[in-house]
């Protein structure tokens, strides 16, 4: 990709900026070109999204590098409280990277370096003294590929609350007669119900979770994240391995969750994004946030030519 970037000639660039209505600020970088993708500069007003209420998460000028690879380029967006925000874009454009920045899971990747600011309810996440454990309790995450623990299904669900000290089923608690077994059972059932998995696994809660199918594992990971009761839920393609029925259940879940939670969801399914989200952010190749706004507006009347092409399936 970097090779194609270098082949862009200046004349082309000038033509493009004219086409896009003048040079936009903050884009000194050469233009992005992928097969089938129109050349066009991004503009700041395309990513401005007006909404009522508070911003749960505000991201400004976020840059992420993997070594020399510039994976996210100066992304800024405000994510409103109690809503569903969809992230869409072609593969490799940095959606997962962006998501991982919101709960600082990128800290685990040694090659990654992050520059910019992310605030959770006004508190800067990228500063010294941030309690990562507390942050991740509040900002939960469902990973792109399911990653159940090699434990029983029930233990997978109750893992977070047990480790947080909210529930105790240890030997000592049992001996002292203050074990939370009932609460755990209830939690397991509720979480699995929400994730539309209860009916399939209720008779084998003590089986190893690694024995579940891919789609079941995916829903187990959703249930596991729900069980810790986070304020923000980051979901990376949570329905990628699910059949239509389970998918629609998960979509209903996301919809319901938005009443109390802030959900940020990555999806490759455009209809899904249109159905469930309140606002949509479109990332395009090269790690740029090209357009962000009301879902209806983005899908029906995109301001960017590239976004329109992408949504109508011309590339990506």
């Amino acid at each position: 990709m970097s090779e194609t970037r270098q082949t862009t000639d200046d004349a082309q660039a000038t033509a493009d900026s004219e086409l896009a209505g003048g040079a936009s600020p903050g884009t000194d970088q050469p233009l992005e070109v992928t097969s089938g993708e129109t050349r066009e500069r991004t503009r700041e007003e395309w990513v401005e999204h007006e909404f009522e209420g508070e911003a749960k998460l505000s991201v400004s000028d976020l840059d992420v590098y993997y070594g020399d690879d510039h994976a996210l380029k100066s992304v800024s967006m405000e994510i409103p409280e109690n809503s569903v925000t969809a992230l869409i874009g072609p593969s490799g454009c940095g959606k997962s990277t962006f998501l991982r920045c919101l709960n600082r899971m990128n800290d685990r990747i040694k090659a990654a370096s992050i520059d910019g600011s992310v605030r959770l309810e006004g508190e800067e996440l990228y500063q010294d003294g941030v309690n990562l454990v507390e942050l991740r309790k509040r900002v939960g995450m469902v990973f792109q590929s399911p990653n159940p623990f090699p434990k029983s299904i029930a233990d997978n669900i109750s893992y977070g609350p047990r480790k947080h000290g909210d529930l105790d089923t240890g030997l000592l608690a049992n001996l002292l007669g203050r074990s939370d077994d009932d609460a755990v059972d209830e939690l397991v059932e509720r979480s699995l119900q929400q994730a539309a998995l209860w009916d399939e696994v209720n008779d084998r809660l003590d089986d190893n979770a690694l024995g579940l199918s891919g789609g079941q594992q995916q829903r187990l990971c959703i249930a596991r994240a729900l069980a810790t009761d986070p304020e923000v839920l980051l979901m990376d393609e949570p329905a990628s391995a699910l059949d239509p029925i389970a998918t629609s259940k998960i979509e209903d879940l996301v919809h319901d969750l938005a009443e109390e939670y802030t959900v940020v969801i990555v999806t490759h399914n455009m209809q899904q994004a249109a159905r469930i989200s309140d606002q949509t952010a479109v990332f395009l190749t090269g790690g740029e946030l090209v357009e962000y706004g009301d879902t209806d507006q983005v899908f029906e009347d995109p301001q960017s030519q590239r976004v329109e092409d992408y949504i109508s399936g011309k590339f990506g």
Binding site: L120, E123, E124, Q127, G129, V130, N131, V133, E134, L135, R138, K163, H164, G165, D166, D168, G170, L171, L172, A173, L176, R178
Partner: protein, 540 residues
């Protein structure tokens, strides 16, 4: 969460209470260091440190530390300190405290109060049970600080009041006598208490709960890692320091300084004289050396490699490339793993029973070579097989698709690709066998301190003859020395056998050092190649 305060996302600057806890952790570290210093007799317990005798200092610090931690715990329980404790300290902590106090109660009852068996058992059960209850039943802030702090205070008071004073001695009263003196007991108890209290203080610093446990555990894990690294490093450094004087004694450079050697018919003097590695042991030597042992080790390694490497690689090729996965490969795998873990002395016994009677009925270099070869074999098989399995199947398929036969594929595709791994395995294996003493002890050991004239000359020893066995080599058929064996025999040899070695201690340490250098050299090379090829693989 059990009435816990909400944890802030961003921690403010260090609060005063945190500073107190951190101070306690620091004090525990100081105390630990002090007690280590007195275990290693850098200071004695009666030496005055800062004006007070060491024992009083240790006792006093323990009391202070114990009170500090208990105060912190109680303060947290009463709500003066903002923490995030769990309802209980947990089974592991409670069990440990219970056990510790069980022992303390028993020792006090039986040794200090002089109670009988029934008496001390009851006392033990009471103190142990109480400690368990105090630790398990109250909230975590009390449960993890009170038993630890109380132990430190108790130990401190015992030291301060002189119940265990500098002249204290506990004779265990066993038939084979052993006793604990104060010089050892006081520092060790102090170190133990400071670890325990340091852990409790670290937990307190983290505000108990998940974060507190995390910090408490990290303190111990860091300490453990640092001690291990320091200890192993000290071990090597110590050997190097003790061995260097002997190793380089009489080292001289300059044209004609060294002994004469003959190479390809030309005789010349080496420009360096290094007596320790160029001499044997003789009465008239200025500096005695270990040349026969060095040469013996080299030949041992060469022989073992010549024997084991073709066999091992062949076996690995067969089970990876030819045999179908199943019973047979499984048997081979179990056999090689079993061989790999077989104790070296068992190989020695086997060599003694199998090889020695068949190779001239005496200990010989050849028997040693083959015995070490048997030891090396499983490692060669295992590592070769691993690296061949790591060669992607596409390579094989691509080659097979060109109509190349199996063996050609193995020879030109699989083996070259697996070579780095195989070589690494061999080098590491060689390092291991080069340092082995037990097998050669039983199969090839010669005299304690061989003179230079007993250096084996394997290449010069071959003789051809017309009757079977056609080739003979008396050099291979006689006992010789090797570095590890030499060190062993120097340690165990009586005065008579090593009387012709002056400065025997220096000689021993130098032998130990050169053995260490040879063996660790093999390891270093093997591991460096492994890392080199691994990183190359990742970048490709």
């Amino acid at each position: 969460m059990a009435g816990a305060t909400d944890t802030a996302l961003v921690s403010e600057d260090t609060s005063e209470t945190e500073a107190v806890a951190a101070g306690a952790v620091g004090l525990a570290a100081v105390l630990f260091a002090l007690s280590l210093a007195s275990v290693f007799e850098l200071v004695t317990i009666t030496d005055p440190v800062a004006g007070v005798p060491m024992v009083a200092l240790l006792g006093g610090l323990l009391v202070v530390l114990g009170f500090a931690v208990v105060t912190f715990g109680v303060g947290s329980r009463l709500g003066y300190v903002a923490t995030d404790p769990r309802p209980t300290a947990g089974l592991l902590a409670s069990g440990t405290f219970g056990l510790i106090w069980f022992v303390v109660g028993g020792l006090v009852a039986s040794q200090t109060l002089g109670l009988g068996t029934a008496g001390w058992v009851v006392a033990s059960l009471v103190t142990g049970g109480a400690a368990f209850a105090v630790s398990a039943l109250p909230r975590e802030d009390i449960g993890s600080t009170l038993p630890a702090g109380a132990l430190a205070v108790f130990a401190g008071v015992v030291f301060l009041t002189g119940v265990i004073g500098p002249s204290w001695l506990w004779d265990l009263g066993w038939e084979q006598q052993a006793s604990f003196n104060a010089e050892f007991t006081i520092p060790v108890l102090t170190a133990f208490c400071s670890l325990l209290v340091g852990w409790a203080a670290a937990k307190a610093y983290g505000g108990f709960g998940a974060r507190g446990r995390h910090i408490g555990a990290y303190v111990l894990v860091y300490l453990n890692a640092i001690s291990i690294i320091a200890l192993l490093f000290l071990l090597v450094a110590f050997t190097v320091l003790k061995g260097l004087p002997g190793l380089f004694k009489g080292l001289a450079f300059g044209a004609g300084a060294g002994p004469e050697v003959t190479l390809v018919g030309v005789t010349f003097s080496l420009p360096v004289s290094w007596p320790f590695v160029m001499n044997g042991v003789a009465l008239l030597n200025d500096v005695n050396g270990v040349l026969p042992a060095i040469v013996g080790t080299i030949w041992l390694v060469v022989g073992a490699v010549l024997f084991a490497v073709p066999l091992g690689i062949g076996a690995a090729v067969f089970i990876t490339e030819y045999a179908d996965r199943g019973r047979f490969t499984q048997v081979v795998e179990i056999a090689t793993n079993g061989l790999w873990s077989t104790p070296s002395i068992v190989f020695g016994l086997f060599g003694l029973a199998f090889l020695v009677p068949r190779l001239g009925n005496q200990k010989s270099l050849l028997a040693g070579m083959l015995t070490l070869g048997f030891m090396l074999l499983p490692l060669v098989v295992i590592t070769s097989r691993e690296s061949m399995l790591a060669v992607p199947d596409e390579y094989r398929d691509a080659s097979a698709a060109l109509g190349v036969t199996k063996w050609q594929t193995v020879r030109s595709i699989v083996l070259p690709a697996a070579l780095p791994g195989i070589v690494t395995g061999i080098i590491l294996g060689v390092g291991r066998i080069a340092g082995e003493t037990a097998p050669i002890l039983l199969t090839m050991s010669g005299s304690v301190a061989p003179p230079g004239s007993q250096t084996v000359d394997v290449l010069g020893g071959f003789q051809l003859q017309y009757a079977p066995p056609f080739v003979t080599n008396p050099e291979l058929m006689q006992a010789t020395s090797a570095l590890p064996y030499q060190l062993y025999s120097l340690i165990t040899a009586g005065v008579g056998q090593s009387s012709n070695i002056s400065a025997i201690d220096e000689f021993r340490w130098a032998t130990a050092l050169i053995l260490l250098v040879v063996v660790l050299g093999f390891y270093a090379i093997g591991i460096a190649t492994r890392y080199y090829f691994r990183s190359k693989l990742q970048h490709d």
